[in-house]
């Protein structure tokens, strides 16, 4: 029991803190609840009564609609999982190697090379030259490579990794490994990869999250529907649904009644977001831990 637990101002303050945090949490949770409820409401009811926190007329027609033709959805899941796994592993491999080399004090050009990497955050060619180069000069449109390669690393992640290795692994360890006859790659492989695990987990999560949530690369480079990433598939479906229901109301054709556009949109959003929400409680711990270490030491 600490000294001031009974002082009135502290107790009042704490009560207000509980209240405000609770309100913030509810505000953060609320939009998700609306979507879940929307996905479980009959389409008719959404059109008539609008979205509510608790379904007025319960129905699974939205989910039925999503799973009637699951081929494309499964394809999009496949693309996203493939891109996320390959991109994260490859990105981690390159980022850890670069971070390790750049923090080695006996590597003479480390400052120049760090600046070479950092400079790209200060100045760039912009979206359009980059786009034209990847499509016309490298022919990467409609390839899996374009979904993976440009996202492999960012200067921020390399710097994060470099600082993490520097603070987590004492230099003497490299020295003694060297004396034992290990070469530089061997040191990286058997010392750095083992001891920098929290940093690697954090950077890996950053990468995986970016790949999983990406819609931008599909939107720029992919025309083949079967190669859409999950998020872009969602984006596209929603726009199509919007178009369908606008057409229906515009022309008076009863198309919109037959296709439950509103509840399907919400169900699709849930199906696409689902895995992240389920993984989230496990993943979040590492994220917080990694960020905490980074922030305190940084």
């Amino acid at each position: 029991m600490s000294l001031d637990d009974n002082i009135l101002s502290s107790r009042v303050f704490r009560m207000i803190a509980y209240l405000i945090i609770t309100i913030c949490s509810l505000l953060c949770l609320f939009p998700f609840l609306l979507i879940i409820s929307g996905s479980l409401t009959a389409n008719e009811s959404i059109i008539r009564d609008g979205f509510h926190l608790i379904p007025k007329v319960f129905s699974l027609e939205g989910y039925e609609m999503v799973f009637i033709f699951p081929t494309q959805l499964i394809k999009a899941y496949g693309v996203t999982i493939f891109v996320t796994v390959i991109g994260t592993l490859l990105g981690l491999f390159l980022i850890t190697m670069a971070g390790y080399v750049l923090q080695r004090k006996d590597f003479k050009y480390r400052n120049q090379l760090s600046f070479f990497i950092y400079f790209t955050t200060l100045f760039g060619g912009g979206l359009v030259p980059w786009y034209i180069m990847l499509t016309t000069y490298f022919g990467l449109a409609d390839t899996y490579a374009v979904l993976i390669l440009p996202g492999l690393m960012t200067p921020f992640l390399i710097i994060l990794m470099k600082n993490f290795i520097k603070s987590a692994i004492p230099e003497e360890l490299f020295e003694s490994a060297k004396i034992d006859g290990a070469n530089d790659f061997r040191i990286y492989y058997s010392v750095v990869l083992k001891l920098a695990m929290p940093g690697i987990a954090t950077v890996g999560l950053f990468l995986a999250l970016t790949y999983w949530n990406d819609w931008f690369m599909s939107s720029l480079f992919i025309n083949d529907v079967s190669m859409y990433q999950l998020q872009y598939y969602l984006y596209n479906t929603i726009n199509t649904m919007m178009f369908v229901s606008q057409m229906a109301t515009g022309t008076g054709v009863s198309l919109g009644r037959d296709i439950p556009t509103e509840s399907t949109k919400m169900a699709m959003a849930i199906v696409v977001t689902g895995p992240i929400i389920f993984l989230y409680p496990f993943v979040q711990r590492y994220f917080v831990k990694g960020l905490t270490i980074g922030a305190v030491k940084g």
Binding site: S9, I46, D49, V128, P129, K265
Partner: protein, 307 residues
């Protein structure tokens, strides 16, 4: 065989390390440096047959058009305006939330609320567009249902530009609160308990302890985050703006930032020269901004300088 201290000597001595970092250097060379050549498009009237150097050179015409039509000014004001609000409000709110959460005693409550507030950071921006539609669309949106049930007239929010700066800011805070709160919370946890114990013995109340200990101790974290944010002040939150506003021209006046303009010029209008010009303006403006900020910081306090 090799001259001591020469590049070839280093290369030979550390060939494995050079090999290890080579893919990274190649990556940035191709992905970031090579496109800089394409800046030339900004000075051409791009035609697809001509390619990079086959398109007719038009000098500064693209920039002239962007300036005279007022687009560049509008984009600059919007981009800077939103970012300044994001930086200030974002930091104030997350510092506030971190302080409140650090004072809460219940372990379970603390963990649960932190998890919930971090959740929006994990979901995609496409989902956010669904959320927004769910709440704001004219017919079935939650907000309008609420208004109707209280007897007010429904509002067509997607046709009401003045609301959007508030809505976009609200979504930005909603998405990023958990993330930056965790960083500040970590800094607060790093403050030694002795400060607080000493202050208590001296009779400081909880407000005085927060004001005289916690907030000053967060200064360095705040400055680091601020500097990073200032560095990218001309780069907007493209995903957020594009997914919330999309191609809804009614709102462009108050929601268009450089990134969304460039994306539209490329994807919708195929206006390569104009889009490159706007992108180049963004790069140069941002670059000058960072250099100036860094110079000032170096003068004031060298420790915080970026480079």
């Amino acid at each position: 065989m090799f001259k001591k201290k020469g590049f070839l000597y280093e290369l030979n001595k550390n060939k494995i390390m050079f090999l290890m970092i080579a893919p990274t250097l190649l990556f940035f060379l191709i992905n970031s440096y090579a496109p800089m050549v394409g800046i030339y498009y900004a000075f051409t009237s791009y035609d697809f047959a001509g390619g990079l150097f086959g398109s007719p050179f038009v000098g500064l015409d693209n920039f002239k058009f962007l300036t005279q039509s007022g687009i560049l000014l509008k984009l600059t004001i919007n981009t800077l305006g939103y970012n300044v609000v994001f930086i200030i409000l974002g930091n104030v709110v997350s510092i506030g939330a971190a302080i409140l959460l650090s004072e809460v005693r219940g372990k379970l409550f603390k963990k649960l609320s932190q998890s919930i507030m971090f959740l929006p950071y994990f979901v995609s921006f496409v989902l956010i567009s669904v959320l927004a539609f769910n709440m704001f669309n004219a017919d079935s949106g939650f907000v309008n249902q609420l208004l109707k049930s209280f007897g007010f007239d429904p509002v067509d929010i997607y046709n009401t530009p003045w609301l959007w700066p508030f809505l976009i800011t609200a979504f930005y805070l909603w998405k990023n609160l958990g993330y930056s709160m965790v960083i500040y919370l970590a800094s607060i946890m790093g403050i030694s308990d002795e400060y607080y114990e000493a202050a208590k013995i001296d009779g400081a109340n909880i407000f005085q302890r927060i004001w005289y200990i916690t907030i000053p101790m967060l200064k360095s974290t705040f400055i680091i985050l601020l500097l990073f944010a200032l560095g990218s002040i001309m780069k907007g939150q493209f995903d957020l703006f594009y997914q919330l506003v999309g191609n809804n021209g009614v709102l462009f006046n108050v929601t268009d930032i450089v990134d969304t303009y460039v994306y539209r010029s490329l994807k919708v209008n195929f206006d390569i020269g104009m889009a490159t010009a706007a992108g180049l303006y963004q790069s140069i403006f941002g670059f000058v901004m960072i250099m100036t900020v860094n110079y000032i910081i170096k003068k004031v306090n060298d420790d915080y300088a970026l480079f």
